[in-house]
Symmetry: C2
Subunit: 240 residues, 2 copies
Amino acid sequence: MRQIPRLFVDTQLHSGLQLSLPPAQTHYLATVLRLVPGAELRLLDNRTGEWAARIVAAGRRQVEVSVGAQIRPRETAPDLWLLAAPIRPERFQLTVEKATELGVALILPVLTERTQHLRLRPDKLLAHMVEAAEQCGRTALPDLAPALKLPALLAQWPDDRALIFADEEGGLPLAEACPPPPAAILIGPEGGFSPAERAMLVAHRAARRVSLGPRLLRADTAAVAALALWQALAPRTAGG
Amino acid sequence: MRQIPRLFVDTQLHSGLQLSLPPAQTHYLATVLRLVPGAELRLLDNRTGEWAARIVAAGRRQVEVSVGAQIRPRETAPDLWLLAAPIRPERFQLTVEKATELGVALILPVLTERTQHLRLRPDKLLAHMVEAAEQCGRTALPDLAPALKLPALLAQWPDDRALIFADEEGGLPLAEACPPPPAAILIGPEGGFSPAERAMLVAHRAARRVSLGPRLLRADTAAVAALALWQALAPRTAGG
């Protein structure tokens, strides 16, 4: 049984709309999947939700689709941010992909003293997020914020948002101290936070120092574990 | 600051033992890290624990080491099994790597009706497990069991072990129904379980059908999320 392709587009959708798909999606539908006029699609716009659609013209250079009925409204992502220090690109791609699956509202790369991978490719990260959302039935994409240095992030921190900071050196287990939204989970780089950064974090008014268990985890594993725990345990997860 | 290399060896360790390392470790220490006699190591044997060691002779063909004091005994892994249907090799490698980090006693590949990746490379999987354990400070390796078909696995299921079965179609949230050890977490392939398999699972005396949340997760994400939740929430996690 072939699954109906789900595609995010950058156009607000409504019944009766006709649109041409951009080159990458044209290639995927016409050349990879070899779909022909009449084939069913699902389109998503990250604004209104998910819509039924059909191919009305399919060529190697252009695929035209017609939008039908709305299938569901856009979901509300829980008001959780993931703040993650960039790690090796393929591992950081996994982190943003899994954060998209598990449901966050925003992903923000945080540059720390021990961050070694400073060159980000936001376009590639976004492509991974879109693919994860398409495959996992999501109707909402997280925002991808520009990278910030940790001190700048902390200086402009919103008063009402709990800053859950996973500390390899200990803290209350996240399962026992899971703050409600709005919240953010901060995961350091391989090598952890520097002593100065740890001191700055511990002193921050919004910070909640937590432990993710007795075992040292790689950064990408820590992000997935913390997000899964928060999603399962936070007192009320808006949209969750 | 360079980290002291940690290496698993296939020899029971004790103070005063001298041993030659196998070719891959010889290459890593002598050629990649360019270590010389006197350099410090940590050796692990997955039996007694972690030991200090020093290089006593280092050539491109042979590295000889001398074992010093024991640093810590082997940890007790929680009595949790991961039963996972094989998925694309690079994703399945991630699954076993992350299970090793999060702490399981045994990993068993389960072949289901919709499993498409039947060719496993146990040697490669084991290498990923060893690398994850070396990097994450573990002193215990999970056992990697031979693959089994789901009906055979269920037919020989041990009476006292809870079989947590993550069902995309729902169930009690794992956070609210986390059984104590001994336990096992079963994660299906991309495409899920077949209706016949689901019926067989639901009827099984040890099965606990659980939900991992409102969002569909890829198989590797589901495994990490379920392991992290169980580790954080199971009533008493031996060694955890």
